[in-house]
């Protein structure tokens, strides 16, 4: 199997999807000749032409609005939003239209489409090239919200998203685009959008996370293990709907929970994880549920490293939770 970065795996998934089904089309800013600002759509324009790989005017509203129309017509559009921070001009089309189309039409009209967008920090992009906004979408029934953390998951989940009946917000943790390589199966395969992934087994503390925080948590869990604390690390992969059973099973085993997210703290998805556990497994809990999160501030530029949860902060929370008696 070839070794790929996440970026290559995503690019590969799009090649596979477009070859497989002529209804798959891409649209977005700079995705054509330039191949995307990160290179995710590299080569697609040359291979599939300007009718299936469309550079668009600078309007996220138009990108998503027209993609909804394409999906309603029967195509499988995969619009790219250049940075997740720029999705807001299209927020109305996403939450009012794409998410609600099936429900409001009594199931007669549907929007199977995938909105791809690089998410989170890690590139010194400051305020507007770094935000993690999954919680907005997680509070929007009708959407699927997913976020892979490995190259293999990225490819399998992107293919599963494109050939799935629900509209998907596909978040790509840009900090992991070139984080490292992994063996990735060639050609067609899909990865479940319904199941979390157990990253590491352990009996002492459950650590739940997703996206770019996964390798940071793995790193912290490794050090914790050296210090005698065995973490059960779960990568949610899907944020909505999410696999709370896997989390609950783990907490029932460990009795301790740390949730790690990059997004600001208040009303982020970590809160949902905590609330669900506090509702369904309170009897198992032997310690407070700790959340490690970005601060309740906008995303800073010079102090990005202070803002983003790092290994030390995660480790601190794991140890605090493990020690609680």
């Amino acid at each position: 199997m070839p070794q790929m970065t996440m970026l290559q795996a995503i690019n590969d998934a799009m090649h596979v999807a477009m070859e497989r089904d002529p209804d798959v089309v891409m649209l977005g800013e700079d995705i054509g000749k330039k191949g995307g600002v990160f290179g995710a759509t590299d080569g697609l324009y040359d291979k599939f032409g300007a009718l299936r790989v469309m550079d668009t005017p600078l309007s996220e509203c138009g990108i998503i609005g027209t993609a909804v129309g394409m999906a309603l017509y029967g195509l499988k559009p995969v619009p790219e939003i250049q940075f997740l921070d720029f999705i807001y001009p299209a927020f109305d089309q996403i939450v009012s239209e794409m998410a609600k189309m099936r429900y409001r039409s009594g199931g007669q009209f549907t929007c199977p489409m995938v909105v791809r967008s690089p998410s989170g920090g890690g590139i010194r992009g400051g305020h507007y090239h770094s935000q993690s906004s999954e919680a907005y979408f997680a509070h929007t029934p009708g959407l699927r919200v997913v976020m892979p953390s490995t190259p293999a998951d990225a490819k399998g989940m992107l293919l599963a998203s494109i050939f799935n009946e629900d509209p998907v917000i596909f978040l790509e943790p840009k900090a992991l685009y070139r984080h490292g390589k992994q063996e990735v199966q060639e050609g067609w395969y899909t990865t479940s959008l319904d199941e979390a992934r157990r990253v590491r087994e352990g009996d002492d503390v459950t650590v739940v996370t997703w996206g770019a925080m996964v390798p940071i948590v793995e790193d912290a869990a490794g050090t914790a293990a050296e210090n005698g604390v065995a973490c059960d690390v779960i990568d949610l992969r899907s944020i909505l709907p999410w696999d709370y059973d896997t989390v609950l099973d783990s907490v029932r085993k460990t009795g301790r929970l740390v949730v790690v997210q990059e997004a600001p703290r208040t009303c982020g998805f970590a809160s949902e994880v905590a609330a669900t556990v506090a509702e369904k497994a309170i009897d198992s809990l032997e310690a407070p549920i700790a959340r490690v999160t970005g601060f309740d501030t906008p995303f800073p530029y010079a102090l990005e490293h202070v803002y983003k949860p790092d290994k030390k902060r995660v480790l601190g929370a794991i140890e605090f939770t493990a020690r609680w008696a």
Partner: protein, 374 residues
């Protein structure tokens, strides 16, 4: 055809009843146009009454805009796709959608195609390629541009896509995005701006400083056409030409039909607070149905007797459908969880179970009432 700021007219103003018959329309067509306009008027009157009687919760009438809508609808091809607004049920009547389908939606009952999920007037009717309507103003415009682009991508040659919206809709984000994308793509899309002079209480001069709405086409490098929206034949011609151009790959058109909202914005609105009565009176004299009747009569194509018979027939149809829809029960409570996703996810299964358990334990849920917008 007049563009930009000139006005395209076929029938001369009421009282003169002159004007040629547009190419391609036979006597049957001319009568079919009238039938649909009258049907719409009766449907609207009934809808407002049903709301006033408290039998349906809300209604949006199209009184005064029948020519603007029916003229367009008549120019549509069979495979064309409609992105309608909440004020264009006339098009469903024109296309022969069974009345029960419409009334089911007004009641939001168990046989409603949209399963009681949306307010009255928010139809979704796949059999006539009528895409689901939503309330947020303008969202259908960029979607229509995308659908037209999809037709291009698929190579579907005889498909045009029609987006309906009002003068207020031209201020929306999606108007700008939709027309801009369609212009760049030369997509087979027709943008139908019904300028009825009001966006609820906001008059057109507070909506935009542009000389006309049709003129906005300039900004997107597309053809803009301004037409007398109370002249059903002029509207038909303009729409027909726009469709021909779209199908031939000559690009999209923005059509402004200049007309007037002769009723309130909706059953919740009272125009007396903001509309000078003289304005209403002036437009009443240009009622599109009266004007067209006069023209038909002058051509010896229509008579009082015919109209009475037609009206009676239509009223009967309406009465039957109203009764059937009203006596249909409400949707089953458990349907509230369906169609959020293609398959019911675990969280919704649990929420459904909890609801079941609650109803079992403490009885049916009481209807809380509430009136729009109160």
């Amino acid at each position: 055809m007049a563009t930009g700021t000139e006005m395209h007219v076929v029938m001369e103003a009421k009282g003169k009843a002159k004007g040629r018959t547009p190419k391609g329309l036979g006597d049957d067509d001319l009568k079919a146009l009238f039938r649909a306009m009258l049907f719409t008027r009766l449907f609207d009157q009934r809808g407002m009454n049903l709301q006033r009687q408290g039998r349906i919760g809300f209604f949006v009438p199209s009184m005064g805009q029948e020519a603007s809508q029916i003229g367009t609808g008549y120019a549509m091809g069979n495979k064309d796709v409609l992105y309608p607004s909440y004020r264009t049920h006339s098009l469903a009547l024109l296309k022969g959608v069974p009345l029960k389908v419409l009334y089911d939606q007004l009641w939001g009952n168990a046989t409603d195609l949209v399963k009681g999920r949306q307010m009255p007037n928010h139809f979704a009717i796949p059999s006539i390629n009528w895409v689901s309507i939503s309330s947020p103003i303008g969202t259908q415009i960029s979607q229509a541009a995308g659908a037209a682009r999809a037709a291009q991508i698929r190579g579907d040659k005889d498909v045009a896509v029609w987006a309906w919206f009002g003068d207020g809709g031209t201020s929306s984000n999606d108007f700008h995005a939709g027309l801009n994308f369609a212009g760049v793509w030369k997509a087979p899309c027709i943008f139908m701006c019904e300028n009825n002079h009001w966006a609820i209480s906001v008059p057109e001069e507070m909506q935009t400083a542009s000389v006309s709405f049709a003129d906005k086409a300039v900004a997107y490098g597309m053809r803009g056409v301004r037409v007398d929206g109370n002249d059903v034949l002029a509207v038909y011609e303009a729409a027909r030409e726009a469709r021909d151009r779209a199908i031939k790959g000559e690009g999209p058109t923005l059509i402004e039909t200049v007309t007037f909202r002769m009723g309130p914005h909706s059953s919740s609105d009272d125009p007396k607070r903001y509309q000078p009565p003289e304005l209403f009176e002036a437009w009443q004299k240009r009622d599109p149905i009266d004007r067209y009747r006069e023209w038909l009569e002058a051509k010896d194509l229509w008579s009082k007797d015919e109209e009475e018979a037609l009206a009676a027939e239509l009223q009967k149809e309406i009465a039957t459908a109203v009764e059937a829809a009203e006596s249909t029960p409400a949707p089953d409570v458990e349907t509230v969880f369906d169609d959020v996703y293609a398959e019911l996810p675990k969280m919704l299964i649990e929420q459904r179970e909890a609801l079941r358990a609650q109803i079992k334990a403490s009885g049916a849920i009481e209807d809380g009432g509430g009136a729009f917008p109160l």
